[in-house]
Symmetry: D2
Subunit: 346 residues, 4 copies
Amino acid sequence: MTVRVGILGATGAVGQRFIQLLDDHPTFELAAVTASEASAGKTYREAAKWRVDTPIPDDVAEMEVVETDPSAVPDDVDLLFSSLPSDVAAAVEPPFLEAGYVVSSNSSNDRMAEDVPLTIPEINPDHLGLIDVQRDERGWDGALVKNPNCSTITMVPTLAALDRFGLERAHIATLQAVSGAGYSGVTSMEIIDNAIPHIGGEEEKMETESRKLLGSFDGAELSLHGADVSASCNRIPTLDGHLENVFAELSEDPSAEAVREAMHDQPSADLHSSPDQLIKVFDDSEPERPQPRLDRTYANGMGIVAGGVQTTTDGVKYNCLAHNTIRGAAGASILNGELLVEDGWI
Amino acid sequence: MTVRVGILGATGAVGQRFIQLLDDHPTFELAAVTASEASAGKTYREAAKWRVDTPIPDDVAEMEVVETDPSAVPDDVDLLFSSLPSDVAAAVEPPFLEAGYVVSSNSSNDRMAEDVPLTIPEINPDHLGLIDVQRDERGWDGALVKNPNCSTITMVPTLAALDRFGLERAHIATLQAVSGAGYSGVTSMEIIDNAIPHIGGEEEKMETESRKLLGSFDGAELSLHGADVSASCNRIPTLDGHLENVFAELSEDPSAEAVREAMHDQPSADLHSSPDQLIKVFDDSEPERPQPRLDRTYANGMGIVAGGVQTTTDGVKYNCLAHNTIRGAAGASILNGELLVEDGWI
Amino acid sequence: MTVRVGILGATGAVGQRFIQLLDDHPTFELAAVTASEASAGKTYREAAKWRVDTPIPDDVAEMEVVETDPSAVPDDVDLLFSSLPSDVAAAVEPPFLEAGYVVSSNSSNDRMAEDVPLTIPEINPDHLGLIDVQRDERGWDGALVKNPNCSTITMVPTLAALDRFGLERAHIATLQAVSGAGYSGVTSMEIIDNAIPHIGGEEEKMETESRKLLGSFDGAELSLHGADVSASCNRIPTLDGHLENVFAELSEDPSAEAVREAMHDQPSADLHSSPDQLIKVFDDSEPERPQPRLDRTYANGMGIVAGGVQTTTDGVKYNCLAHNTIRGAAGASILNGELLVEDGWI
Amino acid sequence: MTVRVGILGATGAVGQRFIQLLDDHPTFELAAVTASEASAGKTYREAAKWRVDTPIPDDVAEMEVVETDPSAVPDDVDLLFSSLPSDVAAAVEPPFLEAGYVVSSNSSNDRMAEDVPLTIPEINPDHLGLIDVQRDERGWDGALVKNPNCSTITMVPTLAALDRFGLERAHIATLQAVSGAGYSGVTSMEIIDNAIPHIGGEEEKMETESRKLLGSFDGAELSLHGADVSASCNRIPTLDGHLENVFAELSEDPSAEAVREAMHDQPSADLHSSPDQLIKVFDDSEPERPQPRLDRTYANGMGIVAGGVQTTTDGVKYNCLAHNTIRGAAGASILNGELLVEDGWI
């Protein structure tokens, strides 16, 4: 089975990562790349300033870029990936949905909307059921699915694993890579020999998205998880890979070993891009792991790596890490696309 | 008034910082520099591989290094600063104390001993009274005073300020500079494009030392503060300046503004090396501060800088920063020395 | 004597450095700060995003920013410093010169014009005589003086010292700091764990400006120096300080010691901002110096530091270093301003 | 055909790279790993602190480490790779050669010995003929072949390509990665926000080894190439990949295009680890390449990448780059091993 896919905003940093990850994908066949009006009509090679560490796939290089408009995208495209800036996405996604396209979007707009599924396929695949609610309410033929922010996705699989012990509260400090801000988002003058303890909007995303992802869907309505989540976000001089320190307050009193087992046993999904082992867990013998440069490519950048699990007086503390531009962005949208196909929405 | 001082372990990284900070000190006159047997008899210039960013003071350069032994240090030296590795210090400090020297030590041994004052002059100067207990118990003529670890000292002044709102629990994540591990402690292969979520022994130091510093001394015995402290320590690619994210649980419910005021009003000490304003607080208009490279030299590296104060459901979160090799090491010992003089122990 | 000065383009990165360096200057009193129309009317504090590592001087913070136009600058300003982008400077400097202002400019336009003095006060102060030629030819009441590019200024004092041995050819490789590209010129994604062997236009600047600086002025015409200069320019992950490897072909055959002496003896100028010792020279005992982080602040950032001098079969090789945004930009213009005053042009 | 190989000094940084590169090698089967006496008897997993970015191959992990002594290595091992420190290698290699082993060594001792071939298979494979001379003179049954230093190997293929235009002189500045100094060779305090213009012994290696590699062997004696080579070596904050700026003086006067063609046409070798295209050349449209992080993995780290070719008044200048721990160390020795097999020495 082949699914024809398109990329909205294909020339940007995440758009390039989509193209890299879709190369040789067994199911998805890239059939359309869109960009702003200024790029329409050019070949992709001309339109994009390619910066990914593997060459542009030859066939994509010669593909014609079209405008980000439903009328410009072929009708036989079944699935669109979107990595537009959130203000652009807020304006552009609705027309595609009205026109009947299924959109798997990495853009931050509408993530918390009550009728928009925010999904990590290994964690809350059932939330896709919200698509029915969404179609009812909005009258769309298409469907809109979102994946969470890169810093949220890094920790949520570990929090899901902890929830069997009664997750009540989580305090998280992040050490985030510069690529999360886009190619030009952090200047070298800002970050060499430095760290920046603030990333605009990031803390709120972590605090709200995580409660939605861990929430429950009864077929009609989604309830947020009751845990209280509080985050402090820092930018540090790493290229890729978000590292996070988590302090979790639990109602039960598990041992560090029980927590490691719960993380290790957290099920993965049976999808092409899902890791065999969702969470790789380092034990006490390697307390200095995970580290961004050494662990960000685990499972081709789609895995979560945890370590440093220790009990505290009110629960546990530990560290977790994921590749922010693969598992945390383009790879997350592609994985949601795979789930949409698997569950028959496409 | 002039106090003749010596430095135990004067050729190492912290030893060099002592020499830099003591240059032009109004009260302390450097009269002795000690090192291992191999260096004894050499001039300081010959013995030390000088790496501080200002030149060796001329008079110190020509000073003769003596062995780290009471018999080698002139009797008229009133105060010794120590920055020896903790295992060396544990062996070497007692003979000096028996010989009657007053020692202000940055070494980590004995910091938690019941009869050893662990002091930050602006926070718990009264703990110096433990010296009487110490002399009673150990039969020393001298006196041993310790300053806390660099990561502890960064946060404790802010926690002290918060305690008026009932500090019950603190979760802290640190982003620590490589200089904290000594000149060769972190290799470039380890830290370029990377972060390391573990520093051996550091978390425990933060968790125990902070409770002693915030504890109360009734003239006979010291009670630890009741707050629960839990830390996760990370090394990042910065040269100097530890940045920390603090999540504090409070019994009261202050506004962010009230917390900023409490920090701003936290009193400094009337000592030469104390800042006029102990804690500099950035408000909401500059949420991206403090930053290590921009803020570590506040008050000549002796100040604390805080920012990003926000309320949470159970208290507040905020960030704080201090220069780890000045306020967090050599400067801390010198400041304790100034307090010892001020309070008449010398 | 007090000279009232203004800064054209005062809110940019170099403009901020001008303000920092002019604070407490014994002769120059800052009387006007200009910026683009959008900033005119604001206070300097409002108009500038201040990023220098010392606070904005209080009096400057409250100064009103005026438009970069002769009619907006008070008539009693005697000297203008300019750090505008070269295309803006090319349009804006002439009206000021026609209006009679003396302009000491760091902008790269017109540096190679035959009637514009390009000066390093310690090296070719006599080239200021070109002002007479300039006034004759252009009919200006004012005067335009340029300082060279940051990478040029780093090596030229050492080449001048070598010229006593007959400088015939120089090959230079640069290791340049990111601040040379302006605050946002180099992104962190470009430079972490990387180097970039190209800086647009930089090589040509080094090759032509150096020959003008080392050239001779006979009172009427300036002859370029006959040496052949060839450069390769690299950007590396340092914040400040350009390091350069020079291979010089000489007609004579001096020893390394003779070359070091020539550099050490290269005279400085008797101006406020000139170092006492123009070139600090490391000898064989410290072959690993100069280094950007350790040596860029020599002489408050206005000195040149050299080292690693070794003979080759056709001359010598050595390394040199200067602070690119002080000696290489704002400081260079201020120093030219001091020379203009000293020589009576103001 | 399978060749049983061993690694002398298998637990060090280069030793680990050997193991990584030999995994899945079509011809070489790892049969022995040696280390110092302290490690003998342990499994490789126990003995090595593994730091390479792929896991230890399972079979190697369980292999028993033996002492670095001919009596401890099985007789049926045909080829030994060596990456011992040069002083250790100088003592240890001769006994292995006397015992009849063929040794392909990355250690720097004996590289310039008159009867030891120093080879890059694509450049001077005929120099292997020196083995006959070596056996005659030394009475060895074995054979010793060396590969050059990492900084030498980066430029020599490009110099070989240039030699058709009459290479007379080369000035080279290097920007070398920290991995070249070994895992702990460069501390983070030395190199963050810094560069070091000196690497002990490196310049001389580049100046002498290159003339031997480009020299001619008449079957009996090797003549050094007549070109004069002068190098300045710098350490910069990159992890892997040496970048070099070359200024070459030529007797002919080729265009930049002719030089690019010569480099592009420089033949590779028909060996497993040789790239299809030995030198990848960027043209004028991408003057900012090659860059360490973007280009070091070209041809699995075994290729050379060049760019920025421009004519000068006496020849050309250009930049070149290679992966220092693959093409510049372990990969170079393995490639020499492949040549030894191909030419029938094993």
